[in-house]
């Protein structure tokens, strides 16, 4: 089953269970831009699967207003860059509603957005923006690396009473892998140790986890280094315990993501690791992310900006001096 199909199952469990769950988005009755909503309209009709105008501000504000009136809205934002057109609604309304109104209300919305590079999609269709979202108190942010987590996290995100930014990487949305059957959740805030190791911890999420697994294997076979890979799955809430435990074991942490290094979530992971690890002097840390440029179109340039397996390996070797 593909990652996208796995999320479709989660949607169906949620919608079957709770009639107050509705799905909105541009072209959503046609399945959305990445097909993850395909077939929903046949099952639930146009009242529950609502085609939205190209009005991103409205999409988010509508979700907030509808949630105040008792619905749970899952909104497809399509490419994550389009959420920028709704940043006011996301930050000034959705993230603050509960707090600034003194806990009177919750905002149970899920904003699904497709991020990451897919190959020559250009500067406005290739970014990853979790660095911004994670700077906003009141939001939760998840970014699965595989179909199983995608399904479980989406189910948890829809059940969650708070606004969740659900980031699905374009490159893996169509990828096939076995997915656990039936209904289950992956709780927000629980990281997974997807490969155990002793010499260095890679902390990552989304598709970069898949690169990290390849890189870890390469480090083992080519350099005799044992790498532990942690898939955060959920960035906010962050499972700092799991990360800190691993950091104390290995003594070296590389925080890696596809989005821009500067101002990105990797720096935050390192800051939190250093706050959590009592004896810092022996700890080595580094972060890896995209270089500081919009994502270029040309197939020759894109990999010069966005890191992959080679950059992971190089950074791990630099950090361990091997």
């Amino acid at each position: 089953m593909t990652f996208g199909q796995a999320t479709l199952e989660a949607m169906q469990f949620a919608m079957d269970e709770d009639p107050s769950v509705v799905v909105i988005g541009e072209d959503i009755s046609w399945g959305g831009n990445f097909g993850q909503f395909r077939g929903l309209v046949d099952r639930y009709g146009h009242e529950r699967v609502v085609d939205m105008p190209i009005s991103e501000s409205l999409i988010v504000a509508l979700a907030v207003g509808a949630s105040a009136a008792g619905l749970k809205v899952v909104a497809s934002m399509s490419f994550v860059e389009f959420t920028l057109g709704a940043m006011d609604e996301i930050v000034n309304q959705a993230s603050k509603f509960r707090y600034m109104f003194g806990g009177q209300t919750s905002v149970p919305i899920v904003l699904r957005a497709s991020d990451g590079i897919r190959g020559s999609s250009g500067a406005q269709h290739s970014s990853s923006l979790e660095g911004m979202f994670c700077n906003v108190p009141g939001l939760k942010v998840v970014a699965p690396s595989n179909g199983n987590d995608a399904k479980g996290l989406l189910r948890a995100a829809i059940a969650d009473p708070d606004p969740v930014i659900y980031l699905e990487h374009k490159k893996i949305t169509g990828q096939r892998a076995p997915v656990t059957e039936g209904d289950f959740t992956v709780p927000l805030g629980s990281a997974a140790v997807v490969r155990e190791g002793t010499d260095l911890t890679v902390v990552s999420y989304s598709n970069m986890v898949n690169h990290a697994l390849v890189a870890a294997e390469q480090m083992a076979t080519e350099h005799g280094v044992s790498v532990e890979v942690i898939d955060l799955r959920s960035l906010i809430p962050l499972d700092l315990d799991t990360v800190a435990r691993s950091a104390m074991k290995t003594g070296a942490v590389l925080a890696a993501h596809e989005s821009w290094a500067v101002g990105g979530f990797g720096a935050e992971v390192l800051a939190q690791v250093r706050e959590a690890v009592p004896e810092q002097s022996a700890l080595r840390t580094a972060r890896l992310g995209a270089k500081t440029a919009p994502i270029p179109f040309s197939p020759q340039l894109e990999p010069a900006v966005v890191p992959g397996v080679a950059e992971l390996v190089a950074e791990m070797r630099r950090l361990l001096a091997v």
Partner: protein, 332 residues
């Protein structure tokens, strides 16, 4: 006095109630303005004195199952929708007993339990929220309605457009009420708005639009009543342009360089919606002068009591400052 009583005419009890509600807003705003000028209140406040008829005229058609969204100038809407006066006053002080437990302040007074979905510090922030509430009403097959209050400045936000278009497409049960007080902060509407009669825009959204004297409570009652009835009947959204005027500056303390003292004085005299309705009620025999005086006294006492409540209330405990950022699940 050119206003005529619409059909169905008001009865004395209704007239008294309407007057009481308008006067409550006026008295509340006056007291707040005094207190703010005296340095008693934190932050900043926007007074809606002069705009009582729009809030009361619209909200008197609503139940607590209906929703409203409001603006930075939201005290009147909150009062008209039925918020506890004490809780609102306490909120302005940032007290623990405030409507938002002191977290929100003047610009964020809200009472979700009665459908008051919040004053909002983002101009144009209410359009989509009201539209979303109306969407939910439709989805839930409820007979209720959502009303979005906004100013003449807010009409130039993109959110106006996105929301009205969607409400037009789906014929949602929402009424968009422009409180057109001719200024956005310091800037006259004509400087920033191509067509200042906002109701003209309704045609672009396949929606009914109407312009009216928003200082005439009876006109507001009438137009809002029709629009809300249409919404409840599934006949779609309406855009109402209600011309009104704020008596005070944009915020309390505003030097008001952008409008002449004459303009303010003249408009206050001729257009004051509270005085105008009181006069109408007396002239038409609905209320006696004594009735009016009694309402004024009653309101003064209610506002004074709300103020005492606020003053007597404890401040919030700083230890709770990080509560309610999320509902569940994020460790501090």
């Amino acid at each position: 006095m050119t206003t005529t009583i619409p059909d169905p005419a008001l009865d004395p009890a209704q007239a008294r109630d309407l007057l009481r509600r308008m006067q409550t807003i006026r008295a509340f705003e006056s007291r707040v303005e005094e207190l703010f000028k005296a340095g008693e209140l934190p932050g900043f406040v926007h007074s809606c004195a002069g705009q009582e008829a729009t809030a009361v005229g619209v909200c008197s058609h609503l139940t607590s199952a209906d929703y409203i969204t409001s603006t930075h100038r939201g005290h009147g809407h909150a009062i008209a929708k039925g918020i506890s006066l004490g809780a609102m006053f306490a909120e302005l002080y940032g007290k623990a007993t405030g409507a938002c437990r002191g977290r929100g302040g003047s610009m964020h007074v809200a009472d979700f339990s009665i459908g008051m979905l919040g004053a909002n510090g983002i101009v144009g922030g209410g359009f989509g929220i009201a539209t979303g509430a109306a969407f939910a009403i439709r989805y839930q097959h409820r007979p209720d309605v959502a009303v979005c209050f906004f100013g003449d400045g807010a009409v130039n936000k993109g959110t106006f457009h996105e929301s009205l278009n969607f409400a037009g497409v789906h014929q949602l049960p929402v009424v968009f009420v422009c409180e057109n007080n001719r200024y956005a902060q310091f800037t006259a509407a004509s400087r920033t708005t191509a067509v200042t009669d906002i109701s003209v825009r309704a045609a672009g959204y396949g929606m009914v639009g109407e312009s009216l004297d928003g200082n005439d409570l009876l006109a507001v009652l009438d137009a809002a009543g029709r629009a809300i009835a249409r919404a409840r009947a599934g006949e779609g959204a309406t855009l109402l342009n209600m011309n009104t005027y704020r008596h005070s500056g944009h915020y309390v303390g505003d030097a008001e360089e952008y409008r002449s003292r004459d303009e303010v004085a003249n408009t206050r005299d001729t257009a004051d919606p509270v005085a105008r309705f009181a006069r109408h009620a007396v002239d038409s025999g609905l209320l006696t002068a004594d009735d009016v005086a009694a309402v004024m006294a009653e309101v003064d006492e209610a506002v004074a009591e709300a103020h005492r409540f606020a003053l007597d209330s404890p401040p919030p405990d700083p230890a709770g400052a990080l509560d309610d950022v999320w509902t569940v699940g994020v460790p501090r």
